[in-house]
């Protein structure tokens, strides 16, 4: 009896609160209405993605599994109705865990208890067919839900920047900070995930009390959904469309010249704020596929090597050697090391360093030339000599205890090898191959190189590779002469993202003031009230002699007037500056062919009062000037409104400068103007 009393006291007095909560959760059912997700607009308030009402066809796995044939007949009816492949529908209605590891493309990464969206935007006709024949389509549901729609009013694609949304995962549900509901969508990549907390809004919840048979006995509470806030970005949709077009054209140009041209990136930054005005990645994909219901093939294509992995956002995830665009940084290193920027240097056809011969680009010398001209014509050999001399001064293979490392220091000053901190997820940081990096690299690889004959593949046992392995084993932990020489011209192990290079050139144009790249401009609520404003942030200020900046401005202008980019910028009516880059790439394509050069152009303009930094990169695109240089020229044409060699201020993207006020958004106007079926049926615009 005492035991019973004690237990009763424990359950009903001491632990009562816990059991009260447990009882409420047993008795109540929440019906969640997802909030309308906020729109993402461009700098002028033009929506690039917006929730519009649409009909969704959902599959209820619990219902299907109860059927005798596990839903086979129902799914094939659905396949027939919508003209889809049965195997495709089958795959998309499987949980990822149900499929073999190597065949999961398109699988459902939610749970069995969530309805699986199959058709993102069904026509009314077909939806009605399902609703009227509910007994034939057991387990198939039609719902009217807000659909993430891409109006593409300026023909922009912006897929990589916007990102996409998807069903909440178990991970999300476990997040202690946010109370997600099963039937919500959450941001998965790009701005959608970066600013998810603002865009999401608050789902509406109606709570019902039910009995054990799930019969509703009464409604307990009713919380209305609160629409998400809108995100205004710094992207200009029209400029973005132009940049995307120029990038695609550059890739096509590279391919037409016999290069592989597998991918590319282009970025426009506002120099004095760090705002990202446009950012394009090639190849891209149709952002509406996520909402229409990703087919298995589409899912595979997104990550397919032969399709160029369209899911990658090259501006912040593509890592490439900067090649000659790096020479601007070498100028800073040279000035720091005490070299005069105003004298002439020898630019021979090649420089012999130890047993190796380092050739100038094209194997032709230019004789003794002033340094600015050397920068303009992109002489390599003058840097070889300078870098080698400095390497020797630092002690060569037996480095001094505190070497000067002018080149590494300059690269470090420009933040190579660290993140830019752009407000987009999954940025890669690049690589600064300095002494420390080399040491780490050696620790990880010496076993391989010192036992190369045992470790390497048969095909790699060529005398040349064996010799390299021997050298790597011997002194792979040291910066060797070749490393120092290669570093000075942006080759070797140095890697940057196109975004980082754009930021570097913006900083050069801005006399060393380094802004953090910023895509978001402001969060505004549905009434247009500003919830949060993203002010420009100075990330760093590079302090060097003003004369060095002046030299760089002069030299980078000369690139366009009499240097490597003079041809492609001939007759351009606005004074702009820049630098070409043609990076050698080691490694092979999947088909065994050696990789083509990376084509770079990093520029800014107008030269006298720099506003915009523009960078284009085409992977395996061939020469810097003809592929990317021309691409950047095209972007400048769009920016300044250049047609037929003349500036038409009316056609400029920002005739009155980049807007300083935060735009007003009128989504109703958009909703009226946009025919939803066309919006989601449109896809990537073919030009």
């Amino acid at each position: 009896m005492f035991a019973l009393f004690g237990r009763l006291f424990y359950l009903q007095i001491l632990e009562s609160d816990k059991y009260q909560d447990a009882a409420i959760s047993i008795q109540s059912r929440d019906v969640v209405t997802p909030a309308v997700r906020g729109a993402i607009t461009d700098i002028n308030g033009v929506p690039m993605v917006v929730d519009l009402p649409g009909l969704v066809v959902l599959i209820n796995r619990i219902e299907l599994d109860k059927q005798q044939d596990k839903g086979v007949s129902v799914l094939s009816k659905v396949a027939n109705l919508f003209g889809l492949e049965y195997s495709d529908i089958y795959q998309r209605t499987r949980l990822c865990g149900e499929l073999p590891r190597d065949n999961r493309a398109g699988c459902w990464n939610g749970t069995r208890y969530q309805p699986i969206p199959l058709i993102g935007n069904a026509s009314q006709d077909l939806a009605l067919r399902i609703m009227e024949n509910a007994d034939l389509y057991t387990g198939v549901e039609v719902q009217s839900v807000p659909i993430r729609s891409y109006p593409s009013l300026e023909n922009e694609n912006v897929a990589h920047v916007l990102g996409y949304v998807g069903a909440v995962t178990d991970e999300d549900l476990k997040n202690p900070e946010v109370n997600y509901y099963r039937n919500e969508v959450v941001g998965k990549s790009g701005l959608e995930v970066q600013y998810n907390q603002f865009l999401r809004g608050t789902p509406g919840v109606r709570t019902f009390l039910v009995n054990r048979k799930e019969v509703v006995t009464k409604q307990n509470k009713n919380i209305q959904a609160i629409a998400g806030n809108n995100l205004i970005t710094n992207i200009d949709a029209k400029l973005q469309a132009g940049v995307e077009k120029s990038l695609a054209a550059a890739v096509q140009r590279a391919r037409a010249s016999g290069f592989r041209g597998d991918s590319g990136a282009a970025i426009v930054l506002e120099i004095k704020t760090g705002r990202v005005l446009a950012m394009a990645s090639y190849p891209t994909y149709d952002p509406t596929i996520w909402q229409k219901g990703l087919t298995v093939k589409q899912a595979q294509d997104l990550f397919s090597e032969t399709k160029g992995v369209p899911a990658l956002s090259r501006p912040l995830q593509g890592l490439f050697a900067p090649a000659s665009t790096f020479k601007a940084i070498s100028v800073v290193a040279a000035a720091d090391a005490g070299y005069s920027l105003n004298t002439s240097y020898n630019c021979p056809a090649f420089v012999e360093i130890g047993t190796r011969t380092f050739k100038n680009f094209g194997s032709v010398g230019a004789g003794r030339i002033p340094l600015d001209l050397g920068l303009a014509i992109s002489c390599d050999s003058l840097w070889y000599q300078m870098a080698y001399d400095e390497w020797v001064r630092d002690g060569g293979l037996r480095p001094k205890s505190s070497p000067s490392d002018y080149f590494f220091k300059a690269a470090k000053a420009f933040s190579i090898g660290v993140l830019t901190g752009i407000d987009l997820p999954s940025e890669l940081k690049g690589r600064l191959p300095d002494r420390q990096w080399k040491q780490n690299w050696y620790e990880q690889n010496k076993d391989f190189y010192c036992n190369y004959k045992d470790r390497a593949k048969k095909a790699d046992l060529t005398p040349y590779l064996i010799e390299i392995a021997r050298e790597n084993c011997l002194d792979g932990d040291k910066i060797r002469a070749g490393d120092a020489v290669n570093f000075s011209i942006g080759q070797g192990d140095t890697l940057v993202t196109p975004l980082r290079l754009a930021q570097i050139y913006a900083a050069i144009a801005n006399d060393g003031v380094y802004y953090k790249p910023q895509v978001a401009r402001a969060i505004v609520d549905v009434d247009g009230k500003i919830v949060k404003e993203f002010k420009p942030e100075i990330a760093d200020t590079i302090k060097i002699e003003q004369s060095t900046w002046d030299f760089l401005h002069r030299g980078l202008r000369m690139v366009v007037t009499k240097g490597t980019a003079a041809g492609v910028f001939a007759g351009f009516p606005v004074e702009v500056s820049g630098k070409t880059g043609t990076a050698q790439v080691f490694g092979r394509n999947p088909n065994g062919s050696p990789k083509d050069d990376t084509s770079w152009f990093a520029g800014y303009g107008p030269t006298a009062d720099p506003q915009y930094a523009v960078v284009m990169m085409v992977s395996q695109g061939g020469f810097g000037a003809s592929t990317s240089g021309l691409g950047v020229r095209n972007i400048f044409e769009t920016l300044f409104g250049v047609t037929g060699g003349r500036v038409d201020p009316e056609k400029a993207i920002f005739p009155n400068g980049v807007p300083t006020t935060i735009a007003k958004i009128d989504l109703k106007k958009v909703a009226k103007k946009v025919d939803l079926t066309k919006v989601n049926g449109g896809g990537v615009k073919k030009k």
Partner: protein, 381 residues
């Protein structure tokens, strides 16, 4: 002595010779049980469009029949019990055999414990067997009292034989809960009879070994092992037995100090606890009457046991004392087992709560048990 007893039996008024506090405790429990059975089934039947008073009516009928049986028991002459007991015992054994025959016995929750009767009534012979065993064993063990001798080993063996036949039949159903309750009564009675102490120790050891062996050899069905396992780890089988135990605990716990009010318990009205009018009737009290009401029920049981114990002590002969001890052990063990189960103290064995749970056979047996106590009381000094 026996003359005077007969005199008291014959000449008392309707309740004159009864222990009134015992009567009060039983009456109080019956009233509470009736309310709880009603509260536990009202909304459930209403949601099906059935008569919400269905269980109330049947439960009341059971109490009336049980009450008459109890009253009858108090009237039986002590000496006549000797004549009736073999008949009751035989009836119980026959009933226990019948339930095992397919076609006659009804299987509910994995145990063949019921005989279906016309009109939707069901009989549970095991309940009857409890009475037969207690009275039968008392007779054998008290046989030598006139010669002032303690029971011999042979008497104990005879007594155990009386218990063993029904127990083995109940094991075959299988209904482990009832077996445990009867075993508790058997051990208590042998202990109180003055029989050699080695029997008590031996029986306790045998019980422990027996339970262990039954689980190990698979003589106990999977469903019973599952029930025991879900007691140790309630999350082991959340949808079946673990579910019941979890729901039961939540329902009691959510009642708090004052409870949700009679008929107002959302867990009860939503029918989240299965078998709530029978084995889980205590959860209705826990949720709707809270700590206060549940404590009142425990207090009524305490009063019942205290009074019953005092009857034992005042009993004039060994027979009366043994019957009394047997009935107390039965009631106390069953009550502890049932309430302990609803609160997660004891494993789930599926025994009803005496006087509160709905169920005819059990109600009849309980009230006959009370009748026996009152009969002993009437003979006491």
């Amino acid at each position: 002595m026996s003359q005077s007893v007969k005199y008291r039996s014959a000449n008392r008024g309707a309740f004159g010779g009864f222990d009134k506090l015992l009567l009060l405790a039983v009456g109080g429990l019956l009233v509470m049980g009736t309310l709880l059975v009603y509260a536990g089934t009202r909304e459930w039947f209403r949601s099906y469009g059935l008569d919400p008073e269905y269980y109330l009516k049947r439960h009341s009928l059971n109490i009336i029949i049980g009450g008459l049986l109890a009253y009858g028991t108090t009237l039986i002459d002590y000496r006549l019990l000797r004549a009736y007991t073999p008949i009751v015992w035989l009836a119980a054994v026959i009933g226990l055999v019948i339930v095992l025959i397919p076609g006659f016995g009804t299987e509910i929750n994995g145990a063949r414990a019921w005989i279906s009767l016309p009109g939707g009534f069901q009989l549970q012979p095991a309940e009857l067997a409890k009475i037969a065993i207690i009275v039968g064993m008392s007779m054998v063990l008290a046989d030598r009292e006139q010669t002032d001798k303690d029971p011999t080993d042979l008497d104990v063996v005879k007594a155990l034989a009386i218990a063993a036949v029904p127990i083995l039949l109940i094991v075959a159903q299988p209904d482990l809960g009832t077996v445990l309750i009867i075993s508790a009564a058997v051990v208590a009675m042998i202990g109180a009879s003055g029989a050699p102490a080695r029997w008590v120790v031996g029986l306790l050891l045998a019980a422990i070994v027996g339970v262990f062996a039954a689980v190990q050899t698979g003589a106990v069905s999977q469903y019973q092992v599952a029930r025991l396992q879900s007691f140790v780890d309630p999350s082991a089988d959340p949808q079946a037995t673990g579910y019941q135990l979890r729901q039961s605990r939540i329902t009691i716990g959510s009642g708090g100090f004052l409870g949700k009010g009679l008929f107002e318990g959302p867990q009860t009205n939503g029918r989240f606890v299965p078998e709530q009018q029978t084995d889980f009737i205590f959860t209705v009290a826990g949720e709707e009457l809270g700590f206060v009401g549940s404590s009142l029920i425990l207090a009524l049981y305490s009063l019942l046991f205290i009074r019953a114990f005092s009857i034992c002590r005042r009993s004039s002969d060994l027979f009366g004392r043994l019957v009394c001890i047997g009935v107390i052990a039965w009631f106390a063990f069953q009550t502890f087992e049932n309430i302990g189960m609803t609160m997660g103290l004891m494993p789930m064995t599926g025994v009803p709560l005496p006087f509160l749970s709905y169920g005819g056979s059990s109600m009849f047996a309980n009230l006959i048990g009370v009748g026996l106590l009152q009969n002993v009381h009437a003979r006491s000094r």
